[in-house]
């Protein structure tokens, strides 16, 4: 098979070929390393690339599979981790030169679970410094570039994860999502991004941004790959104080292709916020398709959507400042200026404001829970616009000029507040050829329904088959 085609096979497709010994993990890794070599100058997805280590692990995987020790669907599949996932023996920078030489002694739980599943780590992916920004700009390791147009941002903070998956550099990537950092780059790069329920995937061994808002999640090219990844990494972890102890289902069982009988709510407030007309058309068309496929669509109201920026902003600022306070005192002048400003601003949030935000969060979650008595899923845009230019601090949406950070997180933050699962799937392209995402969110720990609807939509469309012009 052509090496480029190999790089665009999904984990599900690759796994069937690997299991049947039609292809070797060594071939797969070599193809991906060649793809990275060809595209990395334009994208800058990686902070650390591990070609020798990856080839060595691939050779071992090949031997194991040949000997009949096939471990399952991720065995021999290339993965990349955002560079805040600790990896034993491999530096983990969190996107800052301050940690250029930080080499963790232990794997984070997610990395350990990938390893147990037989996945092969290709490298550590570029990110917005300390995950504190939604654009994917990094002054220490270079900005990330959108594979659909390298003059535009990937979105952040998991920007390298977005570009690497979209450009066929990795089959599976992982990001972390505090205000949208999985879903934003996934939507802007035209791939699938899943923020699981808070507590379903362990945060142990990840550099925190906000303890109570951080969610690790997969960024992949197909919904099936999101399900396969979740099968490998979800589940209780005693190292994570917030880890949930419930039983983990088989997420691929949800991929039936049917949305018959599903009740989907469309919050009217989402369409009152600044929203690009092309994006609105894409999302409304996608929702109509889901209706044609058998789902019931209802307009619903989520009044506290308007409060979500204030609630998550106060919590995020306070927690990020608390976590990075010593670093600010010691190395503040070595931080990217915009990240330093954000972190230092958190020192000015009062304890009373923080607790008021947590009280408001309880109200927000009650409102969300009431909505989920009426519907099974909430649908809406993932982003109000396609990817803006690199270093744009303001963006134009329709006839409004708005702050880029606020706009890029306006639809994603609500589900960090509620901790409920949310996925983005490609649902169209702008006239300029940039992708839009449809966001589907479900009840706590109901990833099965989220994946079911996303998969059915994906299978009924071909947006996910498009490739960036690289």
């Amino acid at each position: 098979m052509d090496a480029l085609e190999l790089c665009y096979l999904s984990a599900g497709e690759l796994s069937r070929l690997i299991r049947d010994k039609e292809i070797s993990p060594v071939e797969i890794i070599d193809a991906h390393l060649a793809r990275i070599e060809a595209t990395e100058p334009a994208l800058n997805s990686f902070i650390t690339l591990l070609p020798e280590q990856a080839r060595e692990v691939a050779r071992r995987a090949e031997s194991q599979i040949q000997a009949g020790n096939y471990r399952g669907p991720l065995h021999g599949v290339p993965v990349g981790l955002k560079d805040l996932f600790n990896t034993a023996g491999v530096r983990t920078t969190s996107g800052s030169r301050i940690f250029d030489n930080f080499v963790p002694a232990e794997d984070c739980t997610v990395a350990a679970r990938f390893q147990r599943a037989g996945a092969i780590l290709l490298g550590k992916l570029n990110m917005h410094q300390f995950a504190y920004g939604p654009t994917g700009e990094n002054f220490d390791y270079g900005h990330m570039h959108n594979p659909w147009n390298p003059e535009l941002v990937t979105g952040g903070s998991s920007g390298g994860s977005g570009s690497a998956a979209a450009a066929g550099q990795c089959t599976i990537t992982m990001g972390s999502d505090t205000g949208g950092s999985v879903r934003i780059p996934a939507a802007l790069c035209g791939i699938v991004g899943l923020k699981p329920t808070y507590g379903l995937v362990s945060r142990a061994g990840l550099t925190p941004l906000s303890w109570c808002l951080d969610h690790p999640g997969p960024m992949v090219r197909t919904v099936e790959d999101a399900a396969l990844t979740l099968n490998a990494i979800a589940g209780y972890d005693p190292k994570d104080a917030a880890s949930a102890s419930g039983e983990v289902p088989n997420y691929t069982a949800a991929l039936t292709g049917s949305v018959e009988g599903l009740r989907i709510g469309l919050p009217r407030e989402y369409f009152e916020a600044p929203l690009d007309p092309e994006g609105e058309t894409s999302v409304r068309t996608a929702v109509s398709q889901l209706e044609d496929m058998g789902a019931t669509i209802t307009e619903v109201s989520l009044p506290m959507f308007r409060d979500s920026q204030a609630i998550s902003g106060a919590i995020l600022m306070a927690e990020a400042a608390a976590y990075h306070r010593e670093l600010l005192a010691r190395d503040g002048d070595k931080l990217t200026p915009s990240v330093r400003l954000r972190l230092e601003a958190g020192l000015f949030v009062t304890a009373a404001d923080y607790l008021k935000a947590q009280q408001a969060r309880a109200r927000f979650n009650r409102e969300m829970a009431q909505l989920f008595q009426e519907v099974d899923l909430l649908a809406g845009p993932t982003e109000p616009v396609t990817a803006p230019p690199i270093l744009a601090s303001e963006i134009v949406i329709g006839d409004q000029t708005v702050d880029a950070t606020g706009a890029l997180t306006q639809y994603t933050r609500p589900y960090n507040i509620s901790g409920t699962p949310a996925i983005t799937v490609p649902c169209g392209f702008s006239e300029a050829g940039m992708p839009f995402g449809l966001q589907l969110a479900g009840k706590p720990f109901d990833e099965l329904t989220v994946l079911r609807a996303a998969y059915a939509y994906e299978q009924a469309t071909d947006w996910h088959r498009r490739r960036p012009p690289l």
Binding site: D307, E344, K356
Partner: protein, 121 residues
């Protein structure tokens, strides 16, 4: 309720019998050092505390208050980027002002603490 002029720890005192000798008015008192709060010295002098009177409806974050709070937070008040930080903080705090309008009566802070949760370092 006026918005507190921000700081590490802000308490409201209504009595002069506080360990810090704040006057008998409701006002915001800023504690200079969190460690000091843990080990309060009896009858600290005004070097320890500083009062900031806040009028309802006013933006309380004057540059003077900001400089004091920045110092209290361990930031270098002479750092050249403080002008930029001041503007950023004013803007960032404006972004969360909406919190004041949210009715949270009866709602407990949604904090994750479960004493029964097993945990391993």
């Amino acid at each position: 309720m006026p918005r507190a002029p921000v700081g590490l720890i802000i308490t409201v005192r209504s009595s002069s019998e506080t360990p810090w000798e704040c006057p008998a008015q409701t006002r915001y008192m800023l504690v200079k050092d969190f460690q000091s709060l843990k080990r309060p010295q009896p009858r600290q002098t005004s070097n320890f505390c500083r009062e900031v009177t806040v009028m309802p409806g006013e933006n309380p974050l004057t540059r003077e208050n900001f400089d004091f709070l920045a110092k209290a937070a361990g930031l270098n008040a002479n750092d050249p980027h403080m002008d930029e930080l001041f503007l950023y903080v004013v803007s960032a705090l404006a972004g969360i002002e909406r919190l004041a309008e949210i009715d949270v009566a009866g709602a407990e802070p949604d904090m994750a603490f479960n004493p029964a949760q097993p945990f391993q370092e």
